[in-house]
Point group: C2
Chain length 805, copies 2
């Protein structure tokens, strides 16, 4: 195992490493030069100084390999790889979670500032000098981050990195504007605030958002083509409509060509549908043909075509993205591999090197897990990892290792009586009868709630009494939770998402009961969540389980798409606030066609005076929160033209451009969201069909599982190796393993490494054959792995080509 002890790395990293970073004494530095000129120290005659320098050069290699792996994981292009020791320190500074969090917080702070700037949310208003100072502070932090990046990338690469350059110029503008605001003590028209999300998008943690944006831009060209077709038909029909209906003076929708076009634009969104037809229809019943033909072409054909084209492009882009990521990772693994092999054995990485890499790459991993990961990679059983083994690195890196339990229950070690009782409970909660009894209870509860709510039609009485039915059902659920926790053991219970859901709903219901009992007004909303108990019923049917499981699998991706949408919202909200703040108010738009929706008048009916409100003045851009709600309403599309016409009547008719642009942008994003959901589901279904694998594995069988058997001698040897050769100090995990091995009485112990299955795993299986082709193509078009090891591969051009490929 220790054969790699005094081997020399095949490649030496950061040639000018002796100046800085590691505080080496003169001698070591001198010695290092010798090593660098490939003087292999004679084995068996260890010169302590050479040993020391050798160890240091190995450490350097571990670190660089870890950086390569990280770059592979993050899909960072290799041409941003740090080139020297100074760059390395900047790189290390800019690549840790503290820095990332700072980056994120600054960006979020900048975005949140719009809550307190000029058209501020009332209770968050800040003085100009306060928010401008905060902004300057945040911008200074961003500038500092950029400086670190500059130091790490070097000026040349920095200039060539487009995203960073955009960020720098936006930063510059914002800086100047913030200073202007501070000097003038008042906000001017600051549309550039709409660019603030760029700082957020550039955050390390927002990689998914960046990918979404890229995907959106890649889907744009075909989208725009079809959009043009849509607009083209719109114009043709607008001309037609103008010719046909403009003679009718009772028809405001087609009175001018501009009105025609706007009416038909709104008609594509169906928001004004029967209304736009009615004046013409009341004159001549056959005029409905115009509208039916228009809607059939535009709404039912071209809009679907849009979805089809985007869906198709999306499919292709998704696959290309997977391919490029896969090949990039492969290339990263190759780079790392070449840094880990020694001159004596250039085909393999032994445990010592692997462990060294892992200490840099995953500093939190225990020695035991590093060892087990090595074993998991090392399928051949040889003492070293070949490149082929090493390729699998990314697959095993996230595994959580656990010894396989000898018994199956958590209470196996308890005394006999307790064991029997718990065994009984275990059998009970696992029985079908118990499950269906619970479903029945939930169903009865559901019907009960429905009937009860229906009878409480006065709508007031329900809040202040605790209904007895509530207590009974809650008791049943409480008992169920307790039984399950004792029967399955807390660990197993909480490892299932469904149980977690049950648990939290029950706990919330208890909190609601307490709130009711102690009459705590603000927590009443918890009581209202009772009906969510009913969701448990959906466990019964297979298809729902699939759908909900897929939903959870998709959740991260959906969240990032949601965030992308919010970023678009933010930009539009800023622009909206700058131009339309405070333009609509009750009774504002009496000259427009939508006056009714903004009217607020007192009406006397009989002897009561009531306020007759068209509430649309609430849909305004008066502060960022209102703007978000207004934009959401515009996204839902229905009646959006009322908001548009209201604002337009108070400003110019160019305002319509804002609303129409927003509609088109959300249409793009929404179409992509639909395409994404379609793609994800169809992919899942195809996957399960192709692999003849039922989607309903028992819950604990899910995910990726690796098995590794460790014998007692092996364990002791490893412990020894770690203790004496590697000089690792924290070995408690390894010692625990040895103790466990001894206690179990078996000569070996099986460890299971688990992680949840990702889309990438599914894709790997789906595209199995194609992946082989890609690999072959990759090794054909690129240099051979042997050659990739050499430095020339790191030249920006080749690396970029690799990662784009």
């Amino acid at each position: 195992m220790a054969e790699g002890d005094d081997d020399v790395p095949l490649i030496l990293t950061w040639d000018d490493t002796n100046s800085g970073l590691l505080e080496e004494d003169e001698n070591a530095a001198g010695n290092y030069d010798v090593v660098n000129n490939v003087v292999i120290p004679t084995p068996g005659a260890p010169d302590p100084r050479a040993q020391n320098s050798l160890r240091q050069s190995w450490e350097m290699n571990y670190q660089e390999a870890a950086i390569y792996l990280q770059e592979g994981e993050n899909n960072d292009k290799f041409f941003t790889h740090p080139r020297n020791a100074q760059a390395l320190s900047a790189y290390l500074f800019a690549h840790n979670h503290l820095f990332y969090v700072m980056e994120l917080l600054t960006a979020v702070l900048l975005m949140l500032l719009s809550l307190s700037e000029a058209p501020a949310v009332p209770f968050l208003r800040l003085d100009v000098y306060v928010h401008a100072s905060l902004e300057l502070l945040a911008l200074a932090t961003v500038a500092f981050e950029l400086c670190m990046k500059l130091r790490w990338l070097g000026f040349h690469t920095f200039i060539r990195h487009k995203r960073t350059m955009v960020k720098a110029s936006v930063l510059f503008i914002q800086f100047i504007e913030a200073i202007v605001v501070l000097v003038r003590q008042t906000s001017h028209l600051r549309v550039t605030r709409a660019l603030r999300p760029i700082f957020l998008v550039d955050c390390r943690y927002c990689g998914a958002v960046r990918r979404n944006l890229r995907q959106i831009f890649q889907s744009l060209p075909p989208f725009i083509d079809i959009l043009l077709l849509l607009l083209f038909f719109m114009v043709i029909f607008a001309i037609l409509g103008f010719c046909l209906f403009s003679a009718n003076t009772a028809d405001p929708y087609f009175s001018t060509l501009e009105n025609s076009i706007v009416s038909l634009f709104v008609l594509v969104t169906t928001a004004n549908f029967p209304d736009v037809m009615m004046p013409a229809y009341s004159k001549n019943r056959w005029s409905c043909i115009f509208f039916i033909v228009y809607l059939s072409i535009e709404l039912y054909f071209i809009m679907n075509l849009l979805l089809a084209v985007v869906f198709d492009t999306f499919n292709g882009v998704e696959k290309m993205k997977f391919k490029s990521l896969l090949l990039h990772k492969r290339s990263a693994v190759e780079h790392a591999f070449q840094l880990l092999v020694g001159r004596q054995r250039p085909d393999g990485v032994c445990l010592k090197q692997f462990d060294g890499l892992m200490r840099f790459y995953r500093p939190r991993m225990t020695a035991r897990d590093r060892f087990l990961t090595f074993k998991a990679l090392n399928r051949s059983g040889a003492s070293m990892l070949s490149l082929q083994d090493f390729y699998k690195l990314y697959e095993v890196i996230g595994l959580k290792w656990k010894a396989r339990r000898s018994g199956e229950h958590w209470f196996d070690d308890l005394p006999r009586t307790a064991f029997l009782i718990l065994k009984g409970i275990n059998l009970l909660v696992k029985s079908k009868a118990f499950q269906y009894a619970m479903y029945l209870v939930v169903a009865i509860n559901g019907i009960w709630i429905l009937v009860e709510t229906n009878m409480l039609n006065d709508g007031v009485a329900w809040t202040h009494v605790v209904p007895w039915s509530y207590i009974i059902f809650l008791t049943i659920y409480g008992v169920e939770v307790l039984l399950k926790i004792t029967g399955l053991g807390p660990l197993k219970y909480f490892s299932s998402g469904w149980n977690l859901f049950d648990f939290s709903v029950t706990v919330f219901a208890f909190l609601g009961l307490i709130a009711l009992a102690f009459d705590m007004e603000p927590f009443y909303f918890i009581v209202v969540l009772r009906p969510f108990q009913l969701l448990r019923l959906f466990k019964i049917k297979q298809r729902y389980r699939n759908v909900l499981d897929t939903m959870f699998e998709l959740f991260p991706r959906m969240a990032s798409l949601g965030l992308t949408l919010i970023i678009f919202y933010y930009s539009f909200a800023i622009v909206g606030m700058e131009f339309f703040a405070d333009v609509v108010y009750p009774n504002c738009c009496n000259t427009s066609t939508v006056a009714d929706s903004y009217r607020q008048i007192n009406v006397t009916i009989g002897n009561r005076t009531i306020l007759d409100e068209g509430y649309y003045y609430l849909n305004n851009f008066n502060n960022i929160l209102s703007s978000f709600v207004t934009l959401f309403e515009l996204t839902v599309v229905n009646n959006w033209y009322i908001t548009m016409e209201g604002v337009t009547s108070q400003t110019t008719h160019w305002s319509r451009l804002y609303f129409m642009t927003f509609y088109i942008v959300t249409m793009v994003v929404m179409t992509i969201i639909v395409a994404f959901i379609l793609d994800a589901f169809v992919f899942r279904m195809n996957y399960s069909r192709k692999n003849r694998e039922p989607l309903d594995d028992p819950e604990d069988e899910k995910g990726i599982v690796f098995e590794t058997e460790v014998s007692q001698t092996e364990a002791l040897q490893t412990l020894d190796l770690y203790k004496h050769t590697l000089g690792v100090t924290n070995l408690s995990s390894l010692q625990d393993m040895c103790v466990a091995l001894e206690r179990s009485g078996h000569s070996s112990l099986v460890f299971l490494g688990r992680r949840s299955r990702t889309k990438s795993d599914l894709s790997m299986k789906m595209y199995e054959e194609e992946i082989q082709e890609w690999y072959e193509e990759y090794s054909r078009t690129n240099l051979q792995p042997d050659e990739t090891s050499h430095r020339e591969l790191d030249s920006p051009e080749v690396s970029a080509a690799n990662s784009i490929n």
Copy 2:
């Protein structure tokens, strides 16, 4: 070629054929019995009576084989195959275009009757006795058709044929009701009229609609599952919403649980969106979260899920349908083949038999085409068709044959001067420059129209003057059409869809000009079609050509989907008319929440009195045409709740069920239409990617092309064979071929058979590998081809299994 002359068919068809159909004399009948007991007449000693009976038994076989092929083509199950001569005559009676047209006309007449029945379209109203008599007449015709079917199928099969049984019972009910109407001289509540489309669906010509309906029903189970999920969340949120908002008396949307549910149902369709939120939002701004969460779950997640699930099911169903159709056809071909081979050579079909078959199967085909089709099938060059050759029958059957032209232009035979001129024109119209010049003209025309229309904002002046620009552009288009027709030749010109489009637009424009010039008011609408010229611009870009081409390929399928939708509309329209005719009228709904939309009052503004109309009373069910328009509005969904609430306020609140059911039904159909368009486009794109075939073949290269070379000797031999042995009388086509061969001076002539490419051809190529598997599986699970020939395969069970497989 004539070797099969006096061979005996391997199988003899319709054992009891001697009683009826063919008027055979006693002797022939006697002789036939002998043949039936497989007494092979000795070759070389032709007994005229045996010869005669032999020919007749062959004729019978040809006919049965043709019927098998027809059944394969129409996807008729083989258990409905006529079993005896009596059934055969009924079958032949019921399977020709005259009968089909009668079937169709009767069904259409029945459906059209609703135009003139009780709530009739004003100008089409008929007296009760007139339309009731018409109905009885139509129903009697349907009954007659059913009798023919009974005679052909036999009582046993008839009973087991579900569709026919449903039709029969509907017929029975309609009959009784029609008589009741006639006796009472007034229409009663006749909801059963909603079942009339069944007669249409059962028509031979409406096979596509039947398939669509089947596909819709097959997609239903997963659809319903997700729909339940949707409704479930709706109920949960309704309870929540009721608890949260019912305290607000200004909020009519959540005042009772029923209102809550209805409001949230309408909210899923977004039709009441910001309005439903506004009362709660004006009280508490955070209440928007309830609506945002609800819409995100229901509209953006579950509705998309619905599409995904339907799309996935649709994909699967589409493939299974293709497979079952393919195997059914294969089995039909096998049946036919076995009937065509003789005892002496049981492995092949020779020209004589093939020709016999074709005379029954495609009576209109000329002798030359029959011969060429045989040659096209006969790839091996042997004198007979093997079963493998014969399998391709359906691929070649629709080919249109033409001799390959020696020259490429239609004017090659003209005198030199004319040739040169025409050649010049030909080169001109084919040149890129000419094309782009025309695009430029169209673009200028488009801009011109836009500018002109924009300047004519008074909207009256445009009708009575012929603008000079119109004349100029029209002249250019006219010249272009003339040049193209002379340059390409009329045949080639009109064979392109795009040219046809150009031509018709230009002709329409001319007609419009004439209408303008002679001041013919009713034809002004033609002038208005001018902007459609602009569509020609879409030829420029590749993607648009693809989209439009795909659109045309999809058109038949789209039309059948549209017809399916219309059938649903019809049923709903009838029900709507029976229950809601004349319930809404101006100012009808003053007690409801949508009173404004139905109000019609005179308003005085300044010194003008204008009529302020909420036009929604026009969206009624007063006659079938109005109902259709109303239902279309409901399909478009926007503001549909206004119609619903209007009708509900005038009737009971159970009326909402009608509208909600309609929404769900159209949602199903619309989702399937979307899934269909998605599927078709994605399929096309995948196809062109997979086959690396550009979608933009030059126009004349499109479709399926078969080539067949015919030598002079072969042609003469065939002519001889036809003349002497087959006794076919109409040989002009073959003689023409011989003459053409002689005139051309070559020893052989190449004939090209063309047909347009169908989806089935694409599928054949896409599923190439899978098709082989299906065939293997088919021949494994079924009897071997040799055995299939025997009668036992025709037992209903096996045939049904075949065709379902």
